[in-house]
Symmetry: C2
Subunit: 94 residues, 2 copies
């Protein structure tokens, strides 16, 4: 992922939870100060898991600074219909 400034975003999707934990760990080790975990729909639970594992087990000096909820309009590729999907951003900070 190359060089990072102080702000980075990790999109949480279908990979195992630990993939996102490791992605954040790598970002923090490379100098990131603020990381945002973004997730939609069912991946929201996974983003919370990743945030908890990170802050409770791996980097206790990282805390959950703020959490934002949102709703995104998602268009299905198959049916072409649109539907509302919940989204979440977890802002982690060193």
């Amino acid at each position: 992922m190359g060089e990072h400034g102080s702000d980075s975003t990790v999109f949480v999707g279908k990979k195992p939870t630990m993939s996102y934990v490791m992605a954040c760990l790598t970002l923090f080790q490379n100098g990131a100060v603020d990381i945002t975990l973004k997730a939609r729909g069912r991946a929201i639970s996974k983003a919370v898991d990743a945030a908890q594992i990170l802050t409770k087990k791996f980097v206790p000096d990282v805390t959950v600074k703020s959490i934002e909820l949102g709703t995104e309009l998602v268009k299905s590729i198959d049916s072409g219909t649109t539907s509302d999907v919940s989204s979440m951003e977890i802002h982690l900070s060193k």
Copy 2:
């Protein structure tokens, strides 16, 4: 559920999302000012859905006041083993 003061809690579990939306609506209509949606594990996504549907579609005067993440130790009835499960509280306020 009877009478309610200004503070109420709705536990989000395996029922359809709209069950929890309706539970909150009823509480607000009965005079509740603050409602906490609590969820663990995969139900976290559902709690976010319920909060978004409530605040965006049904009661625009209700807002997400704060969100807390946590980790709970859950003991399996079958195996007797314990494991960490992420939890979330969404505080809604009129």
